[in-house]
Symmetry: C2
């Protein structure tokens, strides 16, 4: 396995690698071939020494007085993260947030392909939604579509009360990771990874921060 | 100030209060008047003792053998968080992600009103975008619209390379908080709060988690 060499990369480093990858993509699109750690620091707001340290850790040393080769560095980071290939995802919950994520075009250019949406609303099933006309299926089709498209990651955008039941179905379909947008903490019963994203909670935390001064 | 009584609420508690508020909203919509900590625990996946502890901390004891009164508890949590009134927000960057957030209907019902979007693309300026026909302005209008609408929070969805310049403008317009979706760490020069949300980074971290097994 390619990660054997890097057994314990902290989540904070992974997050920075993801950020470098995005910046390198932008630089590459702008036709920039070489970038210094100082310039990466300027764009990212991260410390230049930290950047150099992160990259030497992965065997990237750059060229003294020149910098890093943009596409080479980007491709290596993609390989380390496992995003050097396309990932097929599904989304459970074809409501407003689900549709918003489906319409977020940059996901595709970053290697994420949402192949199907699922909902229990009969008026949505059979329709195509979002900017990429993603088909909406009933949850009874979950196992079949996950298997057919080698889906390992599901995005969960159902209401909180439905999330636990859906999680059980995802476990039964052998999905390996869930990115949970439902405002609820999940208790996975098998070896499934859960991460949490909650826009309203982010907004609430910000309101509290600026209100409590 | 209402927060004088609770000077040091940890961010993890704030996050849970935000989650309780969302669940109580859903229960209230379903016509449920009373809820036990056991039921809140079931829905949220959080420990019932933790929930009771969080709520007594804010003076909520519930009624023994009955539970908490849903709307009463919700209204108190809203007051503590500062979301017992509507907040006017702006969004900088009318690209795909900006449009996705603008179309996320639940924000309005949670008290968040995005009054304007800003972009530097002349083909977008003057149009109305998203599910709520939010007007798009040039950044030269920023100060005026922030002042007129008492905007304290901005959502930043520009490309990474533009984010620092926009931050300076937001500081000059006396915005107090920035929820940053741009994949870049910001270095605010004044007393402005920054929080970070990055969908692709969430996806990348999940891919790494399931790839590195």
């Amino acid at each position: 396995m390619r990660h054997k060499k890097f057994p314990k990369i902290p989540e904070a480093t992974i997050k920075r690698l993801s950020i470098y990858n995005r910046i390198l993509n932008e630089l590459s699109r702008d036709g920039i071939e070489v970038v210094s750690s100082a310039r990466l620091s300027e764009i990212s707001g991260l410390n230049a020494a930290q950047i150099r340290k992160d990259l030497t850790y992965f065997g990237e040393f750059g060229v003294r007085g020149v910098g890093y080769f943009v596409t080479h560095l980007r491709d290596n980071i993609k390989k380390i993260l496992g995003i050097n290939r396309q990932w097929n995802l599904i989304i459970i919950g074809a409501g407003k947030l689900g549709q918003a994520i489906l319409s977020y075009g940059n996901l595709k250019s970053q290697g994420y392909n949402i192949v199907a949406a699922f909902d229990n609303d009969p008026s949505k099933i059979g329709t195509k939604i979002g900017a990429y006309n993603t088909p909406v299926y009933p949850l009874t089709k979950l196992k079949e579509i996950v298997r057919k498209n080698t889906v390992k990651i599901a995005i969960l955008t159902t209401p909180a009360v439905a999330a636990h039941e859906v999680l059980t179905m995802l476990e039964e379909a052998n999905v390996e990771g869930v990115i949970n947008f439902a405002p609820v903490k999940l208790n996975p019963s098998k070896n499934i990874k859960i991460s949490y994203v909650d826009l309203v909670t982010e907004f609430d935390k910000m309101v509290f921060k600026i209100s409590s001064e």
